[in-house]
Structure formats: structure tokens, C-alpha cells
């Protein structure tokens, strides 16, 4: 009887530790899945893109890729955490304000409307067909795009300088 108590305690501690480690791993995997990735048309010769360039593209400040191709930004509606993060962390502007800003550009004749596509597969298909296209997907959604010819582009996070 005296021996069973330490064994049971060790058993439960072991289970608890295992569950804790597993959940940590899941959370990490989940965060990795939510990581934002840019996909571009294969003809766009870039391998990485920073937040500022993305912001310039989606706010209509930047119209051409460095090689002269016209940029066709494709937007996804806010139905997922990742899209919310994109607005919050990259664009730093809410969807309503972005839409109003884009309307303003259209009324001035400066830009055609932003294309909004819901599903990851449809987004990938459009990016593969449209010259100069760019869209943002979650990393875990890349598995749905294996049969679509797009170029995957890493999004560089802004460098945070800590003053001491």
C-alpha cells in the first residue's frame, strides 16, 4: 500500500508532464500554422518581402514590382485569426478604413478595385493565373496549394530595436 502511493503520484506527474509538453508543442505548431506567408505569381522574382512593402502594396502606394510588372494585390476577408493579424500587424489599418482608402483611390482613377477571395485554394489559383499577383495565406494552408504553381515568399518581420 505504501509503495502504490509514490507510484501513483509518479504516474500522475508523468501524465501531467506529458500532457503539458504535448500541449506546448501543439500551441507552437498552431502558431507556426498561423504564420503568414505571401504567395506571388511565379513570374514575380522575389524571395522575401517586408511589412512596409506589403503595406505599400495593399494601401496602393506601390503599383509595380521592381522589374516593372504591375502588382495585383489579392485580399482575403477577415474570417480567420490570420487575416485579423494581417490587418493589425502589417497594414496597421482596419478593413473598413482600408476599403474607404481604396474607394478613394478608385474615385481618383488611380487604382482598380482590390480583389477579395475567400478560400485559400481559390486564392492560390488566382495568384497562379494573374501576372504580378500577390496574396497572403497561412503557412498551414500551403498544403492545399501543392498542385498550384505559385512562388512562396517569406514575410520578413520588422526589426525591433530595444533601447537600454
Amino acid at each position: 500500500m505504501c509503495k502504490t502511493k509514490p507510484l501513483a503520484l509518479a504516474y500522475f506527474l508523468g501524465i501531467f508532464f506529458f500532457c503539458h509538453v504535448t500541449s506546448m508543442h501543439d500551441a507552437k505548431a498552431s502558431n507556426e500554422g498561423l504564420e503568414l506567408i505571401a504567395i506571388v505569381h511565379p513570374g514575380v522574382q522575389i524571395s522575401e518581402i517586408d511589412h512596409q512593402t506589403l503595406k505599400d502594396i495593399y494601401t496602393g502606394q506601390l503599383e509595380h514590382w521592381p522589374d516593372g510588372q504591375r502588382i495585383h494585390p489579392i485580399l482575403r476577408p477577415i474570417v480567420k485569426e490570420s487575416a485579423y493579424r494581417f490587418y493589425r500587424d502589417v497594414l496597421e489599418i482596419g478593413p473598413e478604413k482600408l476599403q474607404a482608402h481604396w474607394q478613394n483611390l478608385m474615385i481618383m482613377g488611380e487604382r482598380l478595385p482590390l480583389q477579395v477571395v475567400h478560400r485559400a485554394y481559390d486564392t492560390g489559383s488566382l495568384v497562379s493565373q494573374k501576372r504580378g499577383a500577390i496574396a497572403i495565406v497561412e503557412r498551414r494552408e500551403l498544403s492545399q496549394l501543392v498542385d498550384i504553381r505559385t512562388r512562396v515568399v517569406q514575410i520578413l518581420k520588422p526589426v525591433v530595436t530595444v533601447l537600454q
Partner: protein, 433 residues
Amino acid sequence: MRKTIFFAIACSVLHWFLPNTAHAENEAPQLNENAGIYQYLLNQFSGPENESHVYGVIESNLYKTNGSPAGISDAGDTTYSSDPHQFGLPHAHLMLQTSKGDLFNGFLNLNIDDSETIAVKNAWFEIGLSGEMLKLRLGKFYRPFGLFNEVRDSVTSRLSIELPEYLDSHHPIISPTTNVMLHGRINTSGHVLRYAMTTGNDLRAGSQSPFGLDMYYAYNNFLRIGGSYYTSSGNAVAPNDTIGELKESPVQNWMEKDKFNAYGAYMRLKHIGFLLEVEYWGSDHKGQRDVEQIQSLESLAYLNPTQLQRFGLDGIPTTTNDNIPLKANYKVTSYLMRLAYTWETEFGLVTPYITYDRYKNPETIAEIEYGGDSKSGRSEDGGFEKFSFGMILKPIPAIAVKAGYCNNRVKFNNQSVLFSSYILSAAYFWELN
């Protein structure tokens, strides 16, 4: 000769820049070494990337002015009048935009206003000569003068109901549209420098070449600071040479000729929902009045004592008055300050705002139907102040409901007179799928 030189320079610029925009890409139109510039342009036009979109904006409003000074009674007292409320349709636009390949853009903006005439507000096409750094736009378009001239039709996204006084259709500081523009932007890490050089027919009297230069620096969505300069480069004339309602003309229609420069600067700050806009504009006119037009003005329109004195008139219509000063050198000035705050609510975006607008034009008169303005022309010195506040509700980005109240202060009958107006407006941005 001048046109030939301009054409030769334009061709040289085209030839110099276009090969730099070529790019190697499988499906892209290729610049073949043997093909030359014309084949390249042809490829751009015949390529698969052709997009177009049809959309527009409609704005309907309700406007009323109360207690504006109308005249002086025999006893010397100021008399007042109130206009009945008016429903208006200032904006009913049909817009078509198209892009071809990487280089060409086109835009058509038609408006059917209250007078039920179709006005071509914008009709232009554009070619990118060197990416975003250099573009050539031809046709008819709003010049990028100040913060608001280019966005005068953006009624669903502009955070104001009325345009600033320096762009008011009855006394604008410049003509809103022009015909040729070389423009571009340099964009690095959120810092943007935009420039534009414009010329066109504008209001020129003969073969003059009016010139406009506009430039601004912007940092992300936070700061925009810039300035504009415009010169008529010689004599300009009003679009109609008889006394009557005058729209979108900085030159009065009783001027035989008028040489003018307009200049100014502006700043816009946006931060955490706050918006601050400040503008200053000035315009120096060196005009020459038409004696017959001034005489007909005396017989047709009400002129206050200052205006009679300015035009050398005694208030008794005659055709033999020789005291009319022909020289009309004067300065138009305008200031604008606007503060707004936008926050997101469950009903949509809500933006309360306050605006202070000051405008002074000593040459204008009160009656709109004879080429004047109801506020500036009513004031003894041509100056007035407008303090307005209002609220803009945007339940969805395509709809804007606006309500505003204005208090106008003019100098009339040796007094400072206040009169008010209110405006309610609803605007809708529509698109064809």
C-alpha cells in the same frame, strides 16, 4: 514651332525611358531586341492583361441658409433673408477605369448634376514612362492642387461635406482641371515623395502655357506635407465673356484679361483616429477690367458701397462713366483648419469634425447670377469666415451619411453679421461586378 519641339522632346523621353521598364518574364510581353519601341507598345496593348471596372458615386443633399444679409433699408438698417430649403444632387457619377498591360491606364468620370447635363469631369489616359517615378497623363483631369482638388468627387471617403472655400465653384483659386501632366512618386520604406508638373488650356487668353507644380512628402498614413504653385504664364480670361453665372473660374468675367499666380502649402496629420488638416493659399492677380462689362454690372447687379468705389461707380447706371479704374491688382487669400476624430462603433465609423475656413477676395460681388459669390461678395471687404461642425457616419464603407452646420461671418453695413446654414447629405459608392 514650340509644339514641334515639345513633340520631339516627348518622343526622346519616351524612347529613353521605355526600354528600362522592360522585364524578363515568361508570360510578360517581351521587348525583342529587334522589335523596337513600337512593337513593345503594341505588345502592351495586345497582351492578355486587360482589366476594367465600372463604378460611381451618388450624393444627394438638403441645404438651407438662414438669415443672410440681403440689403440695407431706407432707414439704414440691415435687412435679412432666408432661402427655402433645397434638395440637390451634386454628384451622380459614372466612372470607368481600365488598365492595359503594365504601362497604360485610362479613366472616364462623367457627372449628371442638378442641371441634368452630362459633364465630362475626367477623361484621361496615362502611360508609365519609368515605373512609378515618371508617368505621362493626357486628357482632362483634376490637377493635384492642395489636399482636396483631386478628391473633390470622393464624397463617400472625404471627411467633409463641402469642399474648402478656396475650391468653391463660385470663387476657386485655380481652375480645377488641366490637360497634360508629368508626374511620379518615389517610395522608400514608407517615405513617399510625389511631384506633378501640369499644363493645359486652362483659362489662357491665347497661346500662353500655364504651368503648375505640385509636390508633397508623406510618411505612411501619418504625415503629408506639401505645396503647390500655379502661374497663368500670361493673360487668362473667364470661360464666358458676358456677365452671367461663373463657375470654376478664378478670373472674373468682367476682366478683359488677368494674369495670376496661385501658391500655398498644406499639412495633414493622422494619428490614432485623429486628423488635423491645415492649408494656406494665396493668389496674386494683375487684371484689366472691361469698361462695358463694369457698366452693365452697375445696371444689373447689387453692388455695396465698397464695390461701387472699387469699380469707380456712383450707383447710377450710365454708359459714359470714365472713372472706372482699368487696373485690378488684388490678392486672394484663404486659410483652412480642420480637426476630426474617427472611431469604430457597432454602427460603423463615426467622425465628428470642426472646421475653420477663411476666404478673402476683394474683386467679387454678391450676386451669383452675375458672376459673384453669395458669401465673399456680400462682405464689404470680400472676406468672410466660416466655422462649421458636423458628423459623418459610415455604416459600411460604401455609404456615408453626413450632417453639418455652418456659421458664416461677413462684414455688411459696417457691422459684423453672422448667418447660418445647414446641410444634410447621403452618399453611396456603387460598383458593377
